[in-house]
Symmetry: C2
Subunit: 341 residues, 2 copies
Amino acid sequence: MKYTTIIDIAKELGMSKSTVSRALSGDAHNVKPETMKLICETAKRMGYQRNEMAVNLRHRTTRNIGIIIPEIVTSFFMNYIQQAQKELRKHGYRTIITVSNEDPEQEAENLQMLEQCRVEGILMSVCHKDKNALLYNKVVRHGIPIVFFDRRVEGMDASVVCIDDNLMAFFMVERLIRSGCRKIVHLTGPEHIGNCHDRYRGYREALEKFSIPYDQRYVIEGGLSAEEGSAAMEEFLSQGLEFDGLFGFTETSTLGAKSLLQKKHYRIPEDVSLCCISGTTLCKLVHPMVTAVEQPVNEMATLSCQLLLNQIADPNAARECVVLRGNIEERESTLAVKGVL
Amino acid sequence: MKYTTIIDIAKELGMSKSTVSRALSGDAHNVKPETMKLICETAKRMGYQRNEMAVNLRHRTTRNIGIIIPEIVTSFFMNYIQQAQKELRKHGYRTIITVSNEDPEQEAENLQMLEQCRVEGILMSVCHKDKNALLYNKVVRHGIPIVFFDRRVEGMDASVVCIDDNLMAFFMVERLIRSGCRKIVHLTGPEHIGNCHDRYRGYREALEKFSIPYDQRYVIEGGLSAEEGSAAMEEFLSQGLEFDGLFGFTETSTLGAKSLLQKKHYRIPEDVSLCCISGTTLCKLVHPMVTAVEQPVNEMATLSCQLLLNQIADPNAARECVVLRGNIEERESTLAVKGVL
DNA sequence: GTGAAAGCGCTAACAG
DNA sequence: CTGTTAGCGCTTTCAC
């Protein structure tokens, strides 16, 4: 397998590789139209494919952007990537996607790999709120701009795009309360994810607003996945406490909890008792049992790409911290029942 | 932003760049241990990051594998990527992921981009059963092995890993029939996706086995997404035909159809009336209303990676066509109701 | 409008 | 064990 090079083309046509290079990079100003046409045609005929490595090496720039996400099971990040890729491609950038699997070490490896591929900027959602913080700073100081999205990370010299977790959580819990819930379980997320602290605060603030006493037995770590959510719910149930509402951390863990409740033949007031913050299609499918805040994932992607590109264009551009607001999804109840657990 | 090069290190230590290169690539056999140590330390101190472009250019090989998938909304492909990436990384390969958005033109672009990045092989799930077939062949003939997965494509000189759509569909529909369904709607997929023909055949064969007359009004194109599935269901309902079961093409479109039925206050026999073939967590979450064949996505990923690596190692390795079998998921019914529509 | 030559950062013979 | 040299494929001055 031998790729055709500009030298092959030059030989074939008996001219210098410079001319071929010029023609192939569309420098109409410096090559006769007929030569141009001739070269392009033979290039096509010979199946020429420009070697990006060589170009990059020569140019000392790659048009590569790295994306680092913590997981791939949630559709949120998929949607993000989809949109970001679209946006970046428009500006002639390729994307290299890497997944850290919620593991800081793997994240560090990914970061290094991206540096070795000489990406010009990085879009990143961290897997731990501070474990790799020094590393991020090192990369940024080295001149590779990073834009953080979705997951909070503190004290970085970088732009951030995220949603107002605290406020959204407050809204959600407030809704539960207004619809009659008083004993609300809160499935939090893993301690190392910054956002869950903000949501927890929102939960407490909402309770406080309505003078509902806080009981820490109602707060339980529910992980990220459905399995974890389900297990956490089981753990909660084992305490034998009464409850009438649930506010979960991820959509998936919330659904996991719900499916456990169903298995145990709990009757759930379908339209209000569960809620979570998400950015996914999942909610929309899983019939109207979950009241959710929809994360504005497209906006997040577009914005973070823009911030990154700005910073690539002008390294001294001001860092920005954009806090987006989610859309609370009102969804009609299909089931008439609205009992208690 | 200037990256440290081996020359910088060589200068710093007053030795030749070859020695530095040797040390940094761990050639312990040809460099004195102390020099080795010295070099590695200064490299670290100076923040050296090997330039992959240069290495690739020199080596004339990239350790890059391209992945082309048609869409990113279904979790199936996400799971696939996750597993494939893990597998390939184990063997020292990077992955470049591209999404075609079900658009053959974009797929062609992706293919070209991957060639320009000199990937050593491609894992590919096509977006159209024949539109780019010539192109695929061209790439393969040029010496870049492709392994196709999940989506069928005919007449390629390449390995394929897929599931037995025909048989799985037959199983599913048979189950519906055995549980009492007689008027089964079939939401097929887009015509250009090869798999849906196999599933359609399975549907017909099952009907035939039980001597249930085929009525083409019960077969309707349901697209891929929830929205499409929902719209298709609406279209079906407008015909005013009775039905008591549904066999969908994708999990998402099936769920879309279900959510429409719910909105219209249909009562669905929760545990048997709907079914689809999928490879996702979605099914598991969406309480036990969908009987599904679980696509063995991990197996598919592992296998296709292996086939690809084999072919990279030995271009003349025989092409294989592996047909996997899905697992029919038995799921307990949580709702006691089991009425008719 | 075209060609000659230098060099991006690295590796791999070939000498010593 | 280490240094010298050539060259991967391409772009880009600088001449002509």
